[in-house]
């Protein structure tokens, strides 16, 4: 069944493979966020809300530039600002990271999701939530190594960046990519993005950022949203970007081994009982037992 405008290669809570004879017409795509070019203007936040018809609450100022304060069902991307005094250069650096779904090759959310087809991964690498199938359990939040999905208070369903799958499906770039004034966010095939990143890293190294590098963490099989970081050796500087994200061991256990083992255990228990019944048979109380009981009861105490 391939009615989808983007072919699905993985579905949540589905144990058989999806149809996958066809590849993605675009190949694997990726969004590259060059943190060194980002001015934190939040155009991406606005373009995201505007395109996706979302409007978050009008909050308050908490004494930081981060607004809204956190990701939400209405804010699928968010600039996180960190003022960092570099001990080596003595310079102040204003590190601004666009947070949002990383579109992992091995998505923890999809792994964790119990509802068939609520989370899918397309052949082009996009990991998408289909809220009509979402049951609102929040397992995706539990499964995500980047703490991205959020449950809406309006409908109890989980939301996150779709990488504008509706735009990509018709051959456009995501809204945040298109709007980014400085070109800090670029989009294309994953290979092209890696090449672009390599050029940027070379430029950054020439400007004294010896540890500039690409963030495409292997722990989740690589991501379809990647960062160019000036300090790739310390990703946690950027508002706690995980240094080595991976699907947590607990999630692996819970969603991996535990599932078949548990079912097997239950099945085995049933089977054991059944075989016991067949092999040994019931433990019945017969007339002799009643007789024995009667004798005892009639015995004067």
């Amino acid at each position: 069944m391939t009615l989808q405008s983007l072919d699905i290669v993985r579905r949540s809570a589905t144990t058989t493979p999806s149809p996958r004879a066809r590849g993605a017409h675009t190949g694997e795509v990726a969004k590259l966020i060059d943190v060194s070019k980002c001015i934190g203007c939040k155009a991406c936040q606005v373009a995201c809300m505007e395109w996706n018809d979302l409007r978050d609450e009008i909050g308050t100022c908490s004494g930081h530039y981060d607004n809204p304060a956190d990701l939400s069902a209405q804010s699928w991307t968010l600039m996180r600002f960190t003022e960092y005094e570099n001990p080596d250069s003595g310079h102040l650096e204003w590190l601004i990271r666009k947070d949002g779904c990383m579109h992992c090759a091995h998505p923890g959310c999809l792994e964790a999701c119990p509802s068939p087809g609520a989370i899918v991964k397309y052949a082009n690498g996009i990991v998408d939530f289909h809220e009509e199938h979402c049951i609102g359990c929040g397992y995706c939040i539990t499964g995500c190594p980047f703490n991205i999905p959020r449950i809406s208070r309006k409908d109890g369903k989980a939301y996150k960046c779709t990488l504008c799958s509706d735009r990509v499906a018709v051959g456009l770039e995501p809204a945040c990519v298109k709007t980014c004034p400085t070109g800090a966010i670029v989009f294309g095939s994953k290979d092209d993005m890696k090449q672009h990143a390599a050029e940027r890293i070379e430029d950054l190294k020439s400007r004294g950022f010896a540890n500039a590098g690409l963030y495409d963490p292997a722990g989740v099989g690589g991501t379809h949203v990647m960062y160019v970081l000036h300090h790739a050796d310390q990703p946690q500087l950027y508002a706690n970007l995980p240094a080595q994200p991976k699907i947590g061991a607990m999630v692996g256990l819970w969603k991996g081994a535990a599932k078949p083992v548990a079912l097997l255990a239950m099945a085995a228990t049933i089977l054991a009982g059944f075989l016991h019944y067949i092999g040994i048979g019931p433990n019945e109380t017969d007339e002799r037992d009643e007789e024995a009981a009667r004798r005892e009861l009639e015995k004067p105490s």
Binding site: S36, K37, C38, I39, G40, C41, K42, A43, Q45, V46, M49, E50, R55, D56, E57, I58, G59, T60, C61, S62, G63, H64, Y65, N67, P68, S75, E83, E85, H91, L92, E93, W94, I96, P181, T182, G183, A184, E199, R200, D203, S206, R207
Partner: protein
């Protein structure tokens, strides 16, 4: 901008100072990131705050607000002392070799001719020495002690790196490497661009700051070349166009000026503006002033403008003094103004000292607002609690609020910072009963004209005789008006060289201002826009983005004034013989018979360069001026004066002259002077600015912008926060001598205290954008705090430097 947005990508070095391009112009700033990524350019940011621009800069230097002339003056000294100037450029294309009058002098912070009572200069000594031939005397060897080069050197000798550190707070050891980097662009093959905005203009010495930056660029040979220039980043979408169209108290269209009341004689008025060349064979393009003026008057008064009535010269009001915004509000406060019309402008929010604004507006009999949004000005009479604590019953002003269309609901053109006129199209109808400004101005004028025709009245002629040829008089169309300001022939125009040949038939649109005549046979409402709607149609609507040379010229995209020229002074990108200084970035060049290239030459198109015509064709000298002559109020060379509210007791550059503490030529009204605060009561230096999330006072009405920056805050450094004992997110009260605001404190490492003259000076950042209308959280108008004093030349208020006190709320 002398250059344009895309051209920034050609720069080798970008200096952002007096502005925060990343914050206020993110999409234009992309060309800085392009220059960095693909031209290996370096970015330098000099700012009191570590801004969003600084966050992606290679080098950041802190500076005390209002002291940019000291920093740049120091840089000029550094370039001159170390001979890091592009000599061929400055000798041929600037006035460095010109000899200045002996009477010109500078002493103790004041130039010759100062009248302390009038706070004004007699500028007669501020001029060049003329030779017997009537032309300026020059010394191309630059050895004459009275040549501009030596005077300049002498003037900035005091601007040492030590002085820079004392006044600006910028450490010498950090400054010198940056100056060295800037000096590297003195070679013909390296270009630096300077990007500035209101961080320079909004000072009492703002115009002079900009001049100092321009002087640096001239010394380095960076004006007129690709990737160079002095690039003013205008704040609003059509500030450029509205200024080009002369919507200022003293202007007519195309930078023609209104007559003063002393100029009763029409020919004298023209002669004073049609400047004769000061050097041999200079174009001095303003010599054509009469053609521009007559064509303009024909566009406005049509047949009523005749040679006999001097083309309606007396229909124009004549000035006795400037009537800029600050002057008008002063008159309003004094009860001398009865009516006021605000068309898409929110002065209660945008003008300094809100308390004065409230008091002034309350003096009006009537106020008319035309706006798409509910502005604070339109509701100045409404009590909005602490944010606008007024008593409506005591305000007797009649207020009319007329709803207008917004950009999406109208056709027309806007002129951007690059001087491009771009046409846009209507996409929807306005909400409710809203009408376009054209309909409102049209209907209002038609009513006034009818009233004067019916009832008569005072001097009705300029009204009743105003040319009004529009198909729907109450609703002139954008197309009709564009054709009118561009210009058309009123009669068949004959070729001056061959009278039998008709070059333009009556009624035909003109291709450019070269076709304008001073005999009443052409009409052009704005000469610099002439050709925007030419004989081939509306060039502003062109959308060919081809860039054949790859240097970003796209000359068939829309239309740029003047004459579709994209880089001003581009002749200066070539050496005197007409060969490009940098063969890799050719804008124009002389091919032996004509000037050709990627841009429209800013020069006489067939002028042989050997004839010595200078590249600065609007100046009668033909060259750029270091010595401003009488053009500036404060003096021919920029001198540093402290802001009117300064943390210092004296001007370190002129410590013994109290008159030289602040701009001696700035106009200050008595009540405004009385409202200035002193450093003992208001010890912190404040500066106001925009945030990238908002546009002025508009986007607080937009939900999306309110979401990403919902509530008013002020930025203070960690040191000051510790001093007053608050943490980020706490509320603080910020007071000036004019009022106070309370806001959330954003405590940041990005603002550091500076050591000025041995004392610690804290900077407080006050973003504007909040007010008592809008969907964002209500807040105080930032201009509650700001002082009323303008730049000595432009009267732009000093929003960027004033004194406040910050305390726990």
């Amino acid at each position: 901008m002398t250059n344009h947005w895309v051209d920034i990508k050609n720069a080798d070095l970008v200096l952002i100072m007096g502005g925060n391009a990343a914050e206020a112009h993110p999409c234009g700033f992309k060309w800085v990131t392009e220059a960095k990524a693909h031209n290996k350019a370096k970015l330098i940011v000099v700012d009191p705050r570590f801004t969003r621009s600084a966050s992606v800069a290679d080098h950041y230097l802190p500076i005390r607000t209002g002291t940019d002339i000291v920093f740049l003056g120091g840089l000029i000294r550094y370039l001159l002392e170390n001979d890091k100037i592009q000599r061929e450029y400055v000798v041929n294309y600037t006035d460095l070799s010109f000899i200045v009058k002996d009477a010109f002098a500078f002493e103790g912070g004041l130039y010759s001719g100062y009248d302390a009572d009038k706070r004004r200069y007699d500028k007669s000594s501020w001029d060049y020495e003329l030779g017997a031939d009537g032309y300026v005397r020059t010394d191309p060897t630059l050895t004459d002690p009275r040549c501009v080069y030596n005077l300049l050197k002498q003037h900035y000798a005091r601007y040492t790196p030590e002085m820079v550190e004392r006044v600006c707070g910028t450490p010498k050891d950090k400054t010198l490497p940056i100056w060295d980097l800037i000096a590297s662009t003195a070679t013909p093959t390296r270009a630096m661009t300077i990007m500035y905005a209101l961080g320079w203009t909004q000072h009492s010495i703002g115009s002079q700051m900009i001049r100092t930056g321009a002087m640096v660029q001239l010394l380095l040979g960076n004006i007129g070349i690709a990737g160079g220039g002095m690039n003013a980043l205008r704040g609003h979408s059509n500030i450029q166009g509205l200024t080009d169209l002369g919507l200022m108290s003293n202007l007519l269209t195309g930078y023609m000026t209104l007559p003063n009341e002393a100029e009763q004689d029409y020919d004298a008025y023209i002669a004073a503006r049609a400047l004769k060349p000061l050097r041999p064979n200079q174009l001095s393009y303003w010599q054509n002033y009469r053609k521009f003026f007559v064509s303009f008057m024909k566009a406005w008064w049509g047949d009523a403008a005749t040679a006999d009535n001097h083309w309606g010269y007396d229909y124009l009001p004549k000035l006795d003094k400037p009537y800029d915004m600050l002057q008008t509000f002063e008159l309003m406060r004094q009860g001398k103004v009865n009516g006021y019309i605000c068309q898409g402008f929110n002065p209660l929010a945008a003008a300094p000292n809100k308390a004065k604004m409230d008091a002034s507006l309350a003096q009006l009999k009537y106020l008319v607002i035309m706006d798409p949004l509910a502005t604070e000005t339109s509701e100045f009479w409404r009590n909005a609690g602490e944010h606008n604590d007024v008593d409506p019953s005591k305000i007797q002003t009649e207020v009319f609020r007329l709803p207008t269309t917004c950009f999406a609901e109208e056709d027309g053109s806007l002129t951007n910072s690059s001087r491009w006129l771009q046409w846009h199209w209507k996409g929807a109808n306005p909400p409710g009963e809203a009408r376009s400004d054209l309909e409102i101005m049209g209907a209002l004028f038609v009513r006034l004209r009818a009233l004067y025709a019916k009832e008569g009245g005072t001097f009705p002629d300029p009204i009743t005789k105003l040319s009004w040829p529009y198909a729907q008089p109450e609703s002139p169309s954008a197309e009709e008006l564009a054709k009118e300001y561009s210009g058309y022939a009123l009669k068949d125009l004959a070729d001056p060289k061959d009278p039998a040949k008709i070059t333009r038939k009556a009624g035909e649109q003109l291709a450019g201002f070269a076709e304008l005549r001073d005999d009443g046979s052409t009409a052009s409402g704005c000469w610099i826009f002439c050709g925007a709607w030419g004989p081939t149609g509306n060039l502003m609507a062109r959308r060919d983005n081809a860039d054949p040379t790859g240097i970003g010229q796209t000359i068939n995209w829309a239309w740029a004034w003047p004459a579709n020229r994209r880089v001003l002074y581009n002749r200066a990108s070539c050496d005197p013989a007409g060969a490009p200084f940098d063969p890799a970035r050719v804008l124009v060049r002389w091919n032996g018979s004509a000037w050709i290239g990627a841009d429209v030459p800013d020069y006489k198109a067939d002028e042989n360069p050997d004839l010595g015509m200078g590249p600065f064709i609007m100046n009668p000298e033909g060259v750029a001026r270091f010595f401003a002559r009488g053009a500036m109020a404060e003096g021919p060379f920029p001198e540093h004066y402290e802001p009117f509210e300064t943390p210092l007791a004296s001007n370190p550059l002129n410590p013994d002259q109290p008159l030289a503490l602040n701009n001696p030529a700035a106009r200050v009204f008595a009540d405004d002077r009385a409202a200035f605060g002193k450093a003992d009561a208001f010890p912190h230096v404040a500066t106001t600015y925009r945030l990238t999330e908002h546009f002025h006072y508009w986007t607080k009405h937009c939900r999306l912008n309110a979401i990403i920056q919902p509530e008013q805050f002020v930025e203070i450094g960690e040191a000051l926060a510790n001093e007053i004992g608050i943490a980020t997110g706490a509320r603080v009260k910020v007071s000036s001598n004019r009022g106070h605001i309370t806001a959330v404190a954003m405590v940041t490492k990005r603002i550091k205290p500076l050591t000025i003259e041995g004392k610690t000076v804290h900077t407080v950042g006050i973003p504007i954008h909040w007010g008592f209308t809008g969907v964002a959280k209500a807040g105080f108008l930032a201009n509650t705090l700001t002082p009323v004093v303008g730049d000595g030349n432009s009267q732009t208020p000093e929003f960027k430097s004033f004194l406040v006190k910050v305390e726990k709320a």
